[in-house]
Symmetry: C2
Subunit: 264 residues, 2 copies
């Protein structure tokens, strides 16, 4: 167990994701860590955990023994006792898992408007995450970067010149619009939500993947990079996690540092 | 008003989206039409509706006069009276709007597991929608197709050979896993949900964009194309809508028919 502060009051949450990389699993981990919630990171913690990840997306699975549908892709969340007839619940798709955990763990806002804005902002950050992935895989996810490098150079140029400022400018405006309540530290309301952790993770990954571009851009978006980013990093729970060995280094996942794709 | 069956009991829903194309607005329209819910399709119904669409994404907007954040992009949903302090609520991001309306209009399942599976399957269909868009814009959304045609030919080949069968196979398995309740007609439970309307719309768009590929593939996925697709099309509300002039033809939106990108 990664933390056991709430082990006695929470169901035994199990994260099913690829081992050794942050990837899309990291958005889920941050929610657990920010709330001090116990969870099992199955493929990182157990020898045969990888088989459990593969099982939920097996190409002959129509329904599991607990009545759950297959997952299109990891991450998935398994929650024993919370499914149909008291069996295990299995959810897939990052935003759906974030909504579920956000509501259980108090990171989904205080009313219906907050709940939907938090989901919307998280979805927008996950769109940026996907576009980041496509900078090194613009043609085919099944092929190597080296086999689509020419196209990647074009895609990354457009991404840096047009897409990054559009997304950063949007989040900067959301933070400013909520400044009265969130003081530039929170996107929605007066406290941390899973929109904050999700936007933060994408910014952090972009700093790794495009260090020159990000350094050049940061001063254009002072609330986002000067207030929001450091504040989320220092949140109780997240601060300890980010310096622990549970936080996996970036590598060959969504966020990759290819110097030729960065600002020259 | 597009329909007024529930006009007296529902708030006056307003869809804010580009005029004249189905696009991502269509996922929202199908939810209204399938439930016989009155809504205003702002840019298609009023002369200055386009200004309302542009206003929610204006690049200097931080918060509107009702306390709503800006929208990253259309579609957005405006609901007078349902926001903070009884003001208008504005939501953006297709999945967030679908969840909101699904819960209000009875298309979001019967329990928490259903609710999250429906959201997850809809998100997966919307991922396929995005990948479809990228077949004709693999490098830059801001450039013309003609300026990225070489890359589009490569992207579309991978999309047809690898991605379509992966998505179709997944939805086929979900339908089979739920056959006891849904009889191949519904992805989750015993009745129509916004997962069904969303998956259906993507299949319908793909039939327009890649007619040869789809014709060749249909027999591989008999539940999806033989049972599910025609059943959703015949649902009360949807059937009438699809033959009305409110249903806009496909054109130069997400789903485009470029014969050179289809199976040869």
């Amino acid at each position: 167990m990664s933390s056991n502060k709430k082990a006695r009051t929470q169901p035994p949450y199990e994260l099913l994701y690829w081992p050794e990389i942050p990837g899309r699993g990291e958005f889920i981990r941050l929610v657990f860590e920010a709330t001090g919630t116990s969870y099992k990171d199955v493929s990182n913690e157990s020898k045969d955990g990888m088989n459990a990840v593969l099982a939920i997306k097996a190409e002959d699975l129509t329904i599991d023994s607990d009545g759950n549908p297959p997952a299109f892709a990891p991450p998935a969340l398994r929650v024993p006792g919370e499914g149909k007839e008291g069996k295990a619940l299995v959810l897939y798709q990052t935003p759906s898992i974030l909504l579920y955990l956000g509501e259980k763990l108090g990171l989904a806002g205080e009313d219906e408007a907050d709940k939907h804005w938090i989901l919307s902002h998280a979805l927008t950050a996950l769109d940026l995450n996907n576009e980041t992935h496509d900078t090194h895989h613009p043609i085919a996810v099944s092929k190597y970067y080296e086999d689509q490098k020419g196209e990647s150079l074009k895609k990354a140029t457009d991404f840096r010149d047009n897409r990054l400022p559009k997304f950063f400018g949007f989040f900067e405006r959301v933070l400013k619009g909520n400044e009265e309540h969130g003081q530039g530290k929170y996107l929605v309301g007066r406290k941390l939500s899973y929109a904050d952790t999700t936007v933060w993770q994408v910014l952090d990954g972009l700093k790794f993947a495009f260090p020159k571009e990000l350094e050049a851009r940061e001063k254009e978006f002072p609330t986002l990079f000067g207030t929001f980013y450091p504040n989320v990093r220092e949140q109780s729970g997240l601060k300890e996690y980010l310096s622990s060995d549970r936080r996996k280094p970036y590598g060959m996942g969504v966020f990759r540092h290819y110097p030729e794709l960065d600002r020259q």
